[in-house]
């Protein structure tokens, strides 16, 4: 395992920040392993996106604008990444820890006989061996797992865990030939994008989350959203709020929802049950606003303000807006 391959997840040429975080980390890892760093981008929009990815310190970018990627569920991506891995040779493959990233990682692991480091927040390299540091059980444990010596290894990489920095001599771009494999089985009949224009919760640098204390769906729009926008962040929710139907489940943070690690987490009217805690406890700074000074969230907040959120949040939004102006 000498080289590093970055799988670029994108939607018609639009990617997320984690791509650039991985591209930057790939250089560091490849240098430590004495190999090269490459990226693989496939599907409609790949060539356009490659121009942007090329500004990161990579040796090569492999592309194919194959429309099959939009027609079949993941099967073509698995074939392409496998083909790239075989062409590039023994390598560590970095995949974003997203819904389809996890699917891709598992499928490649089976094909390449590779170990998987999951949800990696840090890599350690010693004598050519790569070890992956990952939080487990919702952050209750931090594990370090070494990838045993093998041709291939895979890591799913947590967004927001690594720094992104453009630079480097400029990667060469080349076409990745379409692999001939078995026919693709799962056909995408319809692909609907929802909530576009909102920042992805997992990648937001600031999360403003609401819970049962908000009492209904309206405050998420009228109270939390203006504060989130002022801080350049996204709105999230506790399970109680999602279960009550106040917000879609896609906003739920916690054990059975999303795990977020923003620089700043503001919990409004959230008591802080363990179910919620495990989804946000790795955040940079945690601020809570709650009526109850004895709420569990006090135990893991940097600051708990006891008071009326309906009065505090609009004032805070005003202060943040004024500071920006």
């Amino acid at each position: 395992m000498k080289n590093v391959i970055v799988y670029v997840e994108h939607r018609r040429g639009e990617t997320r920040k984690v791509t650039f975080e991985m591209a930057t980390e790939a250089r560091t890892l490849a240098d430590a392993l004495g190999g090269q760093a490459h990226a693989v981008i496939v599907g409609p929009g790949a060539t356009t996106l490659a121009e942007q990815v090329k500004t990161y310190p990579l040796n090569g970018v492999y592309v194919n604008d194959d429309p099959d990627l939009d027609t079949y569920l993941l099967d073509p991506a698995v074939d392409y990444v496998e083909a790239a891995a075989r062409a590039i040779g023994p390598s560590l493959i970095l995949i974003p820890n997203t819904l389809s990233g996890r699917d891709l990682a598992g499928r490649l692991a089976a094909r390449l006989g590779a170990g998987i480091g999951a949800d990696v927040t840090e890599f350690k390299i010693e004598n050519g061996t790569v070890a992956c540091v990952s939080p487990k059980m919702g952050g209750a444990l931090i594990t370090t797992c070494a990838i045993k010596p093998a041709e291939y290894g895979i890591a799913t990489v947590r967004p927001n865990a690594f720094a992104a920095a453009a630079g480097g001599a400029g990667a060469t771009m080349q076409t990745l030939e379409k692999p001939s494999g078995k026919p693709y089985a799962a056909v995408i009949e319809e692909d609907v994008e929802e909530g576009s224009g909102e920042l992805a919760l997992e990648e937001a640098p600031v999360v403003v989350a609401g819970g049962r204390g908000l009492g209904g769906p309206e405050p998420f729009d009228t109270l939390l959203k203006p504060l989130a926008h002022a801080l350049g962040g996204a709105v999230g929710a506790s399970r109680a709020a999602a279960d009550a139907g106040w917000v879609p489940y896609s906003l739920q943070i916690g054990q059975t929802g999303k795990t977020v690690t923003p620089n700043l987490y503001i919990a409004v009217g959230i008591s802080g049950a363990i179910q919620h805690k495990v989804g946000m406890r790795s955040s940079g700074a945690i601020v809570a606003i709650n009526k109850d000074a004895a709420a569990a969230i006090a135990e893991f907040s940097d600051l708990l303000v006891v008071g009326d959120a309906f009065k505090i949040v609009p004032e805070l939004t005003r202060l943040v807006e004024a500071a920006k102006a």
């Binding site: 590779a114 487990k136 692909d191």
Partner: protein, 262 residues
Amino acid sequence: MKIVVTVKLVPDPNAEKRIDSATKRLVRSGVETVLNPYDEYALEAALQLKERAGGDTSVVVFSMAPEALKETLRKALAMGADEAVFLSDAGLEGSDVWATAYAMSQALKKIGFDLLIVGGLTDDGSTGAVPGALAEHLGVPCITNARKAEIADGTLRVERETDSGYQTVRGPLPALLTTALTFGEPRYASLKGIMGAKKKTIAPLTLADIGLDLAVGSDGAKMQLEAFAPPPARGKGRTVEAADGAAGAQAIFDFLKEKKLV
């Protein structure tokens, strides 16, 4: 039609996890073993599909775990699964994603299925990569994160959640499906279900029964656990009683300024 649901047995997610400072191991005493919550949704999906299909559709739960946890599977039988298969072998200890998926796939080939439903994540290890690896080993289509599914004329049609919305996807059977938490709240076991579960079969399997060409357990694992530790301690912070909205907002704003977050 035969629907197989994989179920993992995990420490109760609602219990606070802690590490024994002497042994550096997770403290399991006093923590109940439960069905992985994500797998309860997978089982709910299987039971719904069975109810809709009617006829001779059966739901089999499959689990791989230490022998001592076997009876926990009765919870799945009480929810309505028809039978259970339990793979247990000391040789499985130390298996990673690759070895787990390989051993499971060999057992599942033996059990046979038209539809295999797997939970989206596990509550403890949480790699989320086992379903994909399993589908590859079994050579079946892999459709993940379903919130709705229907089967007609041997075709599986699924509405699945994506990171940015949803998709409708179809594929042939046999296939592997994973469920999102929006598929439907898992049902509670009825008293009748709990009583009935006592009489249902939990068929045992060992590695010798399933036939392996490659090593599993810690020998076959591609990953080696080097260390585990609790996260850096997060001390209890300050508490401020806000006299009014402006005072509360000011306290937070000062904190954000101090931390250079505004």
